[in-house]
């Protein structure tokens, strides 16, 4: 997919232009959410719908700059994190959260391909932070802001996520 600079603006002012934009970027948004939701297509579709409906709201507010795949993916990520938070609240209330022990920290970061291949079966928040860090290439402060934690806690979470992913990969082999 060609990368567009911020100066480029999609023409979504007409039904035809909007439809073209939607069709072009739907696979990215949906695919991104399928990864985040660990293959839960129903949830991914719900969040995809929410994401594009949010776009229509912004366009109706005369904000055509939102017609950008990066904006869509950011919204998609927020929608997923909202879902994870709600889930976490429920888990806390039920006291069903079982914190997995953290193995010794790995010395190296995983690559993008390793992350994309290793997300399946991870806890939702682990999937989210790994995607943000190694696929979206966000910095730790940005991730911390997105998930509402400080950078120390976020680094710890990333370490646990990496370890969970690698532990899972070892078990699979």
């Amino acid at each position: 997919m060609p990368q567009r600079g911020p100066e480029h603006r999609e023409d979504v002012s007409s039904p035809t232009g909007f439809s073209r934009f939607y069709r072009e970027h739907l696979p990215a948004v949906y695919g991104y959410l399928v990864r985040l939701t660990d293959g839960d297509s129903s949830l991914a579709e719900d969040l995809t719908q929410d994401t594009f409906v949010a776009l229509t709201a912004e366009l109706r507010r005369d904000k055509p700059e939102c017609a950008d795949v990066r904006w869509l993916l950011t919204v998609a990520r927020h929608r997923f994190l909202d879902h994870v938070r709600r889930e976490a609240r429920a888990q806390r209330k039920l006291r069903l959260v079982a914190m997995a022990p953290v193995d010794e920290p790995s010395l190296h970061d995983p690559g993008r391909a390793e992350v994309l291949a290793g997300l399946q079966g991870l806890e939702p928040l682990h999937r989210a932070v790994l995607m943000m860090r190694y696929v979206d290439e966000l910095g730790v402060p940005e991730i911390a802001e997105a998930i509402g934690r400080n950078t120390t806690a976020t680094n710890s979470l990333l370490a646990r996520a990496r370890e969970q992913m690698r532990r899972q990969a070892r078990h699979a082999t």
Binding site: M1, P15, T16, F18, Y22, R23, L26, P27, A28, Y30, G31, Y32, V34, R35, D38, D40, S41, S42, A44, E45, D46, T48, Q49, D50, F52, V53, A54, L55, T56, A57, E58, L59, R60, R61, V69, R70, W71, L73, T74, V75, H78, R79, D82, H83, R86, E87, R89, A90, Q91, K93, L94, R95, L96, V97, A98, R112, L116, P124, V135, D136
Partner: protein, 315 residues
């Protein structure tokens, strides 16, 4: 952002078309037919509000302990939006699962909204359930205002109350259930100890679910009969919980101790624990649907049979 193609994935065509149609309506445009596209169908504009910001809630019910998460649409920026649509009220259709609804098969008819979580259902409205629950499309028509639905990928419950204390109908994939090895166990203590404790206290479901259920403490079960449910052959058994010794109270208990039966543990840990008390009664159906054993429970409560009778299972 680099390498978007790494994760691009095309959703179900039906979902893509319906969502595009919805978005066109949200934008105030007529749907623009793409070459080869089917003629658009009217959007069934009922369902959850966009950006309604419903409060998150958790239910730990007594009769069936339901734990689900509200679809709270209020979000962080960007995207915390209320759609200013030209059509009032500002609601949109939750397109839900992409699977094609088998009933009705006529594509020109509106698709019912997905069964919402933690939101009061409307009398006379049909709701559809994720295809993953029974492997086929399923919809039902809600008979009364103010009932609540609790769907998840492997089952759903319609309850007369928001807490799931008064369930009307439950439909679940038997394979997704685990049964308590000791039905008089203290489920509150077990659930407080977490998933590992719940797993340890439960086992894989029995092949003969009706025989298992009939043998539970206090159960006065009728004969297992051949029946029909939603047009499909089924085995049916009526039951009532009479007196039993032992057990422990469970959440919302107002009628004595509980018998714990099953724990549904879906992929998101939003499952429920089913518990029963003296006086609870109903009919359980076991249906083989394409090799999947589906358990349907219809309790003896106003509206339950009507809800069950309205269930339509498609392809």
């Amino acid at each position: 952002m680099s390498g978007i193609k790494d994760f691009e994935l095309m959703p179900d065509v039906g979902f893509a078309d319906r969502l595009e149609q919805l978005l066109m309506v949200e934008m105030g445009w007529e749907h623009v037919a793409r070459p080869g596209a089917r003629k658009p169908t009217p959007i069934h504009r009922t369902g959850r509000r966009v950006g309604a910001g419903a409060a998150a809630a958790l239910v730990a019910a007594s009769l069936i302990g339901l734990v689900f998460v509200v679809r709270d649409d209020s979000t962080l920026d960007p995207g915390n939006t209320v759609v200013p649509t030209s059509v009032t009220p500002p609601v949109t259709t939750n397109l839900g699962p992409s699977t094609t609804i088998g009933i009705p098969s006529d594509a020109s008819r509106p698709v019912p909204p997905a069964l919402p979580i933690f939101q009061p259902l409307t009398a006379g409205t049909s709701y559809r359930v994720a295809r993953s629950v029974i492997g086929r499309s399923l919809q039902f028509t809600n008979p009364t205002d103010g009932t609540f639905g609790f769907p998840n990928p492997v089952g759903f419950v319609v309850s007369a109350d928001a807490a799931g204390v008064e369930p009307l109908v439950a439909v679940v994939d038997l394979a997704a259930l685990r049964v308590f090895t000791d039905p008089l166990v203290d489920v509150e203590a077990i659930s407080a100890d977490g998933v590992a404790a719940l797993t340890a206290a439960t086992a894989t479901p029995p092949t003969d679910f009706l025989a298992y259920f009939a043998a539970l403490p206090g159960v006065e079960a009728g004969e297992v009969t051949t029946a029909e449910f939603a047009g499909l052959p089924a085995k049916a058994m009526t039951w009532r919980f009479g007196a039993f010794d032992g057990g422990h109270p469970c959440s919302g208990a107002a009628r004595g101790n509980c018998v714990a039966t099953t724990w549904l543990d879906d992929a998101y840990r939003n499952g429920w624990i089913s518990t029963y008390r003296i006086g609870d009664a109903g009919t359980t159906y076991v249906i083989d649907i394409d090799g999947k054993t589906v358990v349907v429970e219809v309790q003896d409560r106003p509206g339950a049979q009507q809800t069950a009778d309205s269930i339509v299972i498609g392809d």
